[in-house]
């Protein structure tokens, strides 16, 4: 007996967003990335093919981080003290995109120099995030934005208490922004409205609805992302933005990934466990609608890539 699989029909569509500008587009990237455009729930290929393959970004820092797991130091080695070399290594590891976090110690000149060196080292699209302190973020990002005019960088992170400056500079210099809110559908939507009220077109905004690691609130983030996607498909224009989440950042701070000694034997091999944690969290978030996942470990990148490939062909 033939079984007919029911298909959902949606009226809404996630906006298509292009990151990174090639020479033809006024930048220096060797390729740009297109995300979004979804017309169904994730990977429902039988309803409609996934418009754009989800993207994996690698997180790097402008200065060598002192709080990262030794497992990460082991794998990246000396490049961690040089953002350009690190970006190059990430590209070699298969990253589609680089997310460069600036540091609190950076001056505007340091930030511009770091960005310039990363742009020179790889042709991948680049996101540049401030250290997360309002005044510092605004100071560094404005400098970076102006010096990298036209590159279609993804600047961040905009939050509801601090979005004006970043949105304005990105509007003036042809960049995009990341809008982050704390795991809540309404908050996400509100920030998008605020940004849109400033006049920045929403096809230059990526939303980061915030997530947690597996076992640390991921399921809550998952359901928020799922609800955002459902709202988007139902036609709510203010939620029709591609989503970017940071499973690398989340999982590498959990005890399971961070601690190798003094834990139960049943937890198994430390390195394998840490990579599983990052991979599983990222894969689940792709299933809930993420267009960009930001990872830290190159092995996780490889495994998540395999998962994406299989989901795209399934």
């Amino acid at each position: 007996m033939p079984v007919e699989i029911p298909k959902d029909k949606w009226t809404g569509k996630v906006r298509t967003v292009t990151l990174g500008a090639t020479a033809a587009e006024g930048g220096t990237r060797t390729k740009s990335i297109v995300v979004g455009g979804d017309t169904t729930m994730p990977f429902m290929q039988f309803e409609a093919p996934t418009a754009h393959t989800p993207v994996i970004a690698i997180e790097i820092k402008s200065r060598k981080p002192d709080d990262w797991s030794s497992l990460l130091e082991e794998t990246w080695g000396s490049v961690m003290s040089d953002p350009a070399a690190w970006a190059k290594a990430a590209e070699a590891a298969g990253a589609d995109m680089i997310v460069l976090w600036l540091s609190l110690e950076d001056t505007a000149d340091d930030a511009m120099r770091a960005v310039k060196s990363v742009l020179a080292a790889t042709g991948l699209p680049l996101a540049v995030y401030g250290p997360g302190q309002v005044d510092k973020d605004n100071e560094l990002l404005v400098a970076v934005s102006e010096s990298a005019n036209g590159e279609k960088l993804l600047l961040g992170i905009c939050e509801d208490k601090n979005y004006r400056t970043i949105a304005a500079t990105s509007m003036a210099n042809g960049h995009l922004i990341t809008a982050r809110t704390a795991m809540d559908v309404n908050l996400a939507k509100q920030l998008n409205i605020l940004i849109s009220d400033m006049g920045l077109p929403l096809d230059r905004v990526i939303m980061d609805p915030t997530t947690g690691a597996l076992g640390y609130g991921m399921e809550y983030g998952y359901s928020v992302m799922e609800r955002l996607r459902l709202a988007a498909l139902q036609g709510d224009a203010m939620t029709q933005l591609p989503m970017m989440v940071t499973p690398g950042f989340e999982t590498w701070k959990t005890k399971e990934s961070k601690v190798g000694v003094g834990v139960p034997e049943a937890w198994g091999d430390w390195k394998e466990r840490a990579i599983h944690w990052e991979t599983l969290t990222a894969t689940a978030l792709l299933e809930s609608g993420a267009s960009i996942v930001v990872l830290r470990h190159p092995e996780s990148l490889k495994r998540v890539r395999t998962a994406i490939t299989e989901l795209m062909t399934a």
């Binding site: 208490k161 004006r164 809540d184 309404n186 908050l187 509100q190 920030l191 409205i193 605020l194 009220d197």
Partner: protein, 641 residues
Amino acid sequence: MAEHTVTFTTADGKTATVHAQTGLLLAEAAQNAGIDIGQPCGGQGRCGRCAVQVTAGNVRRRSTLRLSSEALELGYALACQSVVEGDVSIFVPEQEKIERKLTTDRVAAEVSIPAGYDFNWSQTIRRYNVRLNEPSMDDQTDDWSRLQTILRQQHKLESVTCSLQLLRRLGAILRDAKWQVGVVGNLRDKNMLEIIDVLPEMVDEDEPLYAAAIDIGTTTVSFWLVDLMTGKVVSQVAEYNGQISRGEDVISRIIYSSKGTGRDELQKRVTDTINALCATACKRVKSRPAEVIKATIAGNSTMIHLLLGIPAASIRYSPFITACNHPPITTARELGLNFSPDALIDCLPGVASYVGSDITAGVLSSRIDSAEDVTLFIDVGTNGEIVLGNQDWLVTCACSAGPAFEGAGVVHGMRATNGAIEEVWINGDTYEPTTRVIGNSKPKGICGSGLISLIAEMFLTGVLDKAGNVNLTIPTNRVREGEHGGEYVLSWASESETGQDITITRVDVDNLLRAKAAIYAGFSVLAEQVGMTLADVQQMYIGGSFGKYINVEKAVQIGLLPDMPWEKFNFLGNTSIKGAYYTLLNADERERIKDIANRMTYIELSADNTFYDAFTSALFLPHTDMAKFPTVQSAFANQSS
């Protein structure tokens, strides 16, 4: 334990000395010394308004959360958080005075007597004139039997009862009145009379018989003196609830009542308020409180508990249970009210911890329980209680909006008294404000209606973004970075009564947005619970004095009230006391309010995530879903274009 000498000096030069043991709170020591120090937060150390100055000696400060380092250096301490540990001298600064400007002072509208009121038909209260036979050696019947017998003979009252207290006075009354008395009582059944009072003379049919309808609000107590013979409200008075200085909201009061002798003190404070109101009301009609023979009282559940002296602590904690929703009828004597000692005190039935008899009385008087149209009723006081329904069903909930709209939790907030900015207009080009101040004086602060108006204007002119952030990039010196983030200067120091800039800060805006979001979320969740949307609501009733002065358009613009045509809004004033009045006049109405209390389905908003979701969605100007506010959307578009 060591005993110390504590000397208090007040701003007006009064000095009082008391002995106190180590560890006694300054607030208690002051009370022992007969000096009143207000504790608006109920003694939690949160408001900082009980600060006193230590001029000699020292005290131990448990918390200094609300004191600046300069104040500490000058020796200031919070009276509710500092304890005696040695001989000490304390200066008590001038206490905040509550300047009276109550709604009833503005308008005491004539209350119309319900149609068809007839004392004999509507009341269970009876007044009889009786002439007793004087006792003699031939007739040695005791006084009480003598009275019972005549009532049985003349009025077919088979069972007549009275209190011991009345019996103690009876002999004297009968003899002073030369055996001709008036008897006031309550018919329990057709033939059963409970005597309330024996009057020392016979009374004419048209002599008034006084009773009271009372609304105990967290902030204001209203008192209507009623002549039961005609049903007429003969005088209306209102006064701030004497408990205010021991907590401005119900939670602070519950906290205060749970400590030491707090419960007794609060009970006394509210009965003192009622007694004073009664005295004033009676004086206006040349009567005395002792002539008041009955009162019906409506109030939120906490107020009723505190009046009755019932522990209220369980109201505050999950699962939020009252000690009783249908309090028994008691007497004035038992509560310490100066009415006729056996006057019946009938506290009306409530529904739940946060939906009290003020709301059931509101439903009764606004007649939602017999309305055909789906009606949304809100009583905005310190809490926002909401009722949705019609003749077939009623659902209710309470959202803790907090006292932001009463000016609390806002730096320059104040009650609607003289000097309060009550309306604001902001010029969209210059960002300069124009204000209207109550009493046409220099501004001292901003009251609830002023705050609503201010937020709406700031939003529409772009001073605030939709999230309530102050836009510091607009070209005016009215906006600036303050201690708590962005702020807007409404009045410069040179124009204000206080000599300080009157500002609204980011924190204030957040508090107000939370208050309005809680109320709007309450509306939407209640509608959702019965499978409706706010668009299905056919009429909106707004109770409480709050509704009287707010500008509906502005309240809609900030998303406090749903975007509906203006003609659907009805402002009813104090519906609670009106309900108390109706039940006072008519036994059937008293039955009806019981039925209302039983019929109302209470929705506990904290039971699941629905409310939180609706709340965050409403935590935006006017709302995350702009489509719910079409008129605001177009006003906003016009303004920004």
